[in-house]
C-alpha cells in the first residue's frame, strides 16, 4: 500500500512531461541473487559500489535507494514467476503459493523451561500409566447422534435430562439429592483448582529453589554436608527421630528455640508452692527408687537374650554344615538346655501354675 501511494505522489510531483516515461524493469547485476521466496528474502552477493557509499549526504542516499530498488525489482520479478491462482473465483485476487522457506530463522522467544512433573505425572510414571487417546465424539444413545465428549451440547450433559434422581438405598429421604449433586460438583471443581494451583506453586518453588547439597552419598561431601545428611536421616522416621538411638559420638540436638517451636506453656512463677514441693518430692522418690530395680532385671534379660542369640547362631552354623538332616536331629537335644532352666528362675509364678495343674489325660 505504501509503495502505491509513494508512486502516485512521485507521479503527481513530477513534471507533466516526465510522467509518461516508465522506469526500466531490466536490472543488470554481475552475480545472480540468492532468493528464499518462502521468507521473501533476496540475498545480493555483489560487492556494493564503494565510492558511492562513502560519506554522508544526498549522493549516498540516492545510491542506496537505487541499490534497494534494483534488488526489490529482481525479488518481485521472481515472485511474479511463481505459480499463482485466482482465489475466490475469476474476480478475486491473484494469490501466489510461496515455496518452503530455506533459511531457518532463530527463535523469537526463549524456549520453555522444563517444569517439574506434577504429583499425578510422577505417579503415572511410577505405575507406567500412559495416556490413552480419547475420541472427541461420543455416541449419545438418547439423542441418537454423535455428540462431543464435553462442552456445548455434550453427550449426556443436558440439564433437562436429569429431572429425576433416585434416592440411594442408605440415604436420608429428606435429603435434597439435587443440592447434594450440585455441592459435589462444586467440591470437585474446587479441589481441581486447588490442585492446579498447588502444582503451579510447586513448579515455581522448584524453579526458584536454592541448590541444596545432595543427601545421597557422593564422594565429595564436606563434613557439614554429611552432618546435614545424618540429621535429615534421623528426623525422617515416623516419630520424627524422637526414639532413634544415637551413635556413640553423635551430639545431642538441642530443642528448637525461637519461633520454630510451638508455644510452650510453663507453670506460673508464684503458683502453688506446696504443690510444687510435693511434685518435686515425688520425683525424687521415683528417681531414687527406680535406680536399683530396673538394673537387675534388665541386666538379666539382656544376658538371656544374648545367650539365646548365641545358641541360635550356633544352631544355624551346624545346620548349614549338616544340611537338612541336621535340623531334625538337632531339635530334640536342644530343648532341655540352659534356656528353660534360666527362664524358670525369672518367672516362678507362671511356671508353677502350669506345672502344678498338669494332668495326664
Amino acid at each position: 500500500m505504501a509503495a502505491a501511494v509513494r508512486v502516485e505522489e512521485l507521479l503527481a510531483a513530477a513534471a507533466p512531461g516526465e510522467r509518461e516515461a516508465p522506469r526500466s524493469v531490466a536490472v543488470e547485476k554481475e552475480l545472480e541473487l540468492e532468493f528464499d521466496l518462502g521468507n521473501l528474502l533476496a540475498l545480493d552477493p555483489n560487492p556494493p559500489p564503494a565510492a558511492g557509499l562513502r560519506g554522508a549526504g544526498p549522493r549516498r542516499e540516492a545510491a542506496l535507494r537505487a541499490l534497494a530498488r534494483d534488488n526489490a525489482q529482481l525479488l518481485v520479478a521472481q515472485l511474479w514467476a511463481l505459480p499463482a491462482e485466482r482465489a475466490g473465483g475469476a474476480a478475486g485476487p491473484l494469490v501466489a503459493s510461496l515455496p518452503e522457506p530455506s533459511c531457518r530463522l532463530p527463535r523469537e522467544k526463549p524456549p520453555p523451561k522444563p517444569r517439574p512433573p506434577t504429583r499425578w505425572e510422577q505417579f503415572a510414571r511410577l505405575k507406567g500409566i500412559r495416556r490413552r487417546k480419547r475420541t472427541s465424539l461420543v455416541w449419545d444413545e438418547q439423542a441418537k447422534e454423535w455428540r462431543r465428549r464435553w462442552g456445548y451440547r455434550r453427550a449426556g450433559g443436558d440439564p433437562a435430562r436429569s429431572w429425576l434422581l433416585e434416592v440411594p438405598a442408605g440415604a436420608d429421604p429428606e435429603e435434597d439429592q439435587f443440592a447434594k449433586k450440585r455441592q459435589e460438583k462444586r467440591e470437585r471443581v474446587a479441589r481441581n483448582e486447588f490442585n492446579r494451583l498447588r502444582n503451579l506453586a510447586r513448579a515455581h518453588r522448584a524453579s526458584t529453589a536454592i541448590p541444596a547439597p545432595p543427601l545421597h552419598p557422593t564422594g565429595h561431601q564436606s563434613r557439614q554436608e554429611l552432618g546435614l545428611a545424618a540429621r535429615v536421616a534421623r528426623v525422617s522416621t515416623a516419630s520424627l527421630g524422637r526414639f532413634q538411638p544415637r551413635l556413640p559420638k553423635e551430639p545431642v540436638e538441642l530443642p528448637p528455640r525461637g519461633r520454630c517451636s510451638k508455644k510452650r506453656r510453663f507453670e506460673p512463677v508464684l503458683g502453688d508452692l506446696a504443690a510444687e514441693r510435693g511434685r518435686q518430692l515425688e520425683l525424687l522418690k521415683a528417681m531414687n527408687s527406680k535406680k536399683p530395680a530396673l538394673d537387675i532385671t534388665r541386666a538379666v534379660n539382656k544376658q538371656l537374650r544374648e545367650e539365646d542369640a548365641e545358641a541360635a547362631a550356633a544352631k544355624g552354623k551346624k545346620q548349614k554344615q549338616r544340611g537338612k538332616r541336621g535340623r531334625r536331629q538337632q531339635q530334640r537335644p536342644a530343648r532341655g538346655g540352659r534356656k528353660s532352666g534360666a527362664r524358670r528362675q525369672q518367672r516362678p509364678a507362671g511356671g508353677n501354675i502350669t506345672g502344678g495343674k498338669r494332668k495326664k489325660a
Partner: protein, 133 residues
C-alpha cells in the same frame, strides 16, 4: 523467670544427687522456710518464697539474679553446677575431691591406692587455718 520443667528438675536433681546423695529432700523441704528453684535466663536459682514474691514484680529484662545461683543450663541442655551452690551443698556433702583414677580403674585398684585428690578451694586454707599444721 519460670519454674523448672520436669525434665529440667530431673537433670538438676541428678546432678545434685551426685554430690549430696539423697539429702536433696532437705533442700526441697526445709523447716525454716519455703524455698524453691526458679529458672531465669538459663540459670537455676534457689530462692526463698519471700524473695521470690519480691522478684516476681521486676520485669524480665531488668532482673539480673535472685537468691543463690546453683548452676546453669548449657546450650545443649546439660546442667552445670556452680561453686555458688557450695554453701548449700557443703552440710550434706559426700566428700569433695577430684578423682585420681578413672571409674574402671577405681574398681580394680587395691585398698591403699590413692583414688581421690582433695583439692583445696580458694578459702580452705583460711577456713581451716587452725586445723592445718
Amino acid at each position: 523467670m519460670r519454674p523448672l520443667t520436669e525434665a529440667e528438675t530431673r537433670a538438676v536433681f541428678e546432678k545434685l544427687g551426685r554430690y549430696i546423695g539423697e539429702n536433696i529432700q532437705l533442700l526441697v523441704e526445709r523447716p525454716d522456710g519455703t524455698y524453691c528453684f526458679r529458672l531465669h535466663r538459663d540459670r537455676v536459682y534457689y530462692v526463698s518464697e519471700k524473695l521470690l514474691k519480691g522478684a516476681a514484680s521486676i520485669p524480665r529484662g531488668s532482673l539480673v539474679a535472685l537468691g543463690t545461683c546453683f548452676g546453669k543450663f548449657t546450650k545443649t541442655q546439660k546442667f552445670r553446677l556452680n561453686v555458688t551452690a557450695l554453701d548449700f551443698l557443703a552440710p550434706y556433702a559426700k566428700g569433695f575431691g577430684v578423682a585420681a583414677k578413672s571409674t574402671q580403674d577405681c574398681r580394680k585398684v587395691d585398698p591403699m591406692a590413692i583414688v581421690v585428690f582433695h583439692q583445696a578451694d580458694v578459702g580452705e586454707y583460711v577456713r581451716s587455718e587452725d586445723t592445718l599444721t
